[in-house]
Amino acid sequence: MHPFEYLRPRDLAAAVGESATGNYLAGGMTLLPSMKLRLTSPEKLIDLSGLPDLVGIQADSAAVVIGAMTRHAEVAASAEVRRLIPALAALAGGIGDPLVRNRGTLGGSLATNDPAADYPGALLGLGGTVVTDRREIAGDEFITGMFSTALEPGELIVRVKFPVARRAAYVKFPSPASRYAMVGVFVAETATGVRVAVTGAAACAFRLTAFEAALQKAFAVESLEGLGVSGDGYNQDLHGSAEYRASLVPVMARRAVAAALAR
């Protein structure tokens, strides 16, 4: 790791004020390993853990609002999240391993937007909204590409709003080594229609409109009969080919619908 200056500001404006020359540090589960590998070498780390506005979970019957610094383990264990959006609690409880969940945060995960990360699936699948220090960004606009988001330089995620779905489920086929998603599918029947989001398969999470239309007619596993994906441009790596990932998508989608119906 190259040397850096370390700051732990006490208020949000101070944190954002330092961002021109620094990087935010949340759980450090992605940033610190990349700094060790010198893939990134910030001059200054702005630790977000001293900012009270960024932690905690607020919920009402319409939405669950989660602070950016809320750890995956807290989301997984939250009685409110488990009651209102059990699929989201289960998703958080399946990220990495318990040690990663004890440090990693919602804001850090979405800001990174790893192609195989789980939370981007929930953001698209539930039609969530990212609230930053300067604006609100709809989930559909937030995710823009591989490791890329609509965040401007220095823009800080403060919290994320997840609307409560009538029913929802997330099923992933985890990489056995890291438990990142080879393919994960988030299915939700929301107030504005059925949403189906896929993560892990391609450069970034995306929606499957053909699957959504089929489930909109009838929210049942049979509705997905015969539906598949071409796999064009899907990820290929040592864990699996693009064809393999393409074959996993409909399987995970059917399992997710079955799981949503079983809730």
Partner: protein
């Protein structure tokens, strides 16, 4: 440039001047000479470096020492009461839950955290709860047995082995 950091380690107040890049595990092993916490991979994969920070198990190779400012840290050295091993340590010994022992400090710290949240885990829950800890020797069977034995003991089941 150094930063002053103050924390509790195994119940004792500790202060140190550290370069901000110092990892928590480096502070523990190199400055405080608490070498029970191991470094296996240094890439957040293996769990050999697990310690408790404010009651939660974390990988100390993936946390800066300065991030532990004001925290209470417990390492493997902090579990035993004098010469009496913690029930989890005792169960690992009795069940042969280790061979080379390299993964063991992290394994035990993760297992203790697991039981704090779930005092009566099923075998599947134990395996899921230890997913962040890799052992290259035992094949895990005796580790799982040790954790369920310790769980029974800590719950006070008289039938416990």
């Amino acid at each position: 440039m150094t930063v002053d950091v103050s924390l509790q380690v195994n119940g004792k107040a500790v202060s140190a001047a550290v370069d901000p890049r110092t990892l928590l595990v480096e502070l523990l092993r190199q400055q405080l000479k608490l070498t029970g916490t191991h470094v296996g991979c240094d890439t957040s994969q293996c769990g050999a470096c697990v310690v408790h920070v404010d009651g939660r198990a974390v990988k100390s190779c993936t946390m800066l020492a300065v991030q532990a400012e004001g925290s209470s840290v417990v390492t493997i050295e902090g579990l035993a009461q004098g010469n009496t091993l913690h029930p989890m340590q005792e169960a690992f010994r009795a069940c042969h839950g280790l061979q080379c022992g390299f993964c063991t400090p992290g394994m035990i710290m993760s297992a203790v955290d697991l039981l704090q949240r779930n005092p009566n885990p099923t075998e599947a829950e134990i395996r899921h709860g230890l997913e962040g800890n890799i052992c290259r020797c035992t094949g895990y069977q005796n580790i799982v047995r040790a954790v369920s034995t310790a769980a029974a003991k800590m719950r006070g089941d008289s039938a416990a082995a």
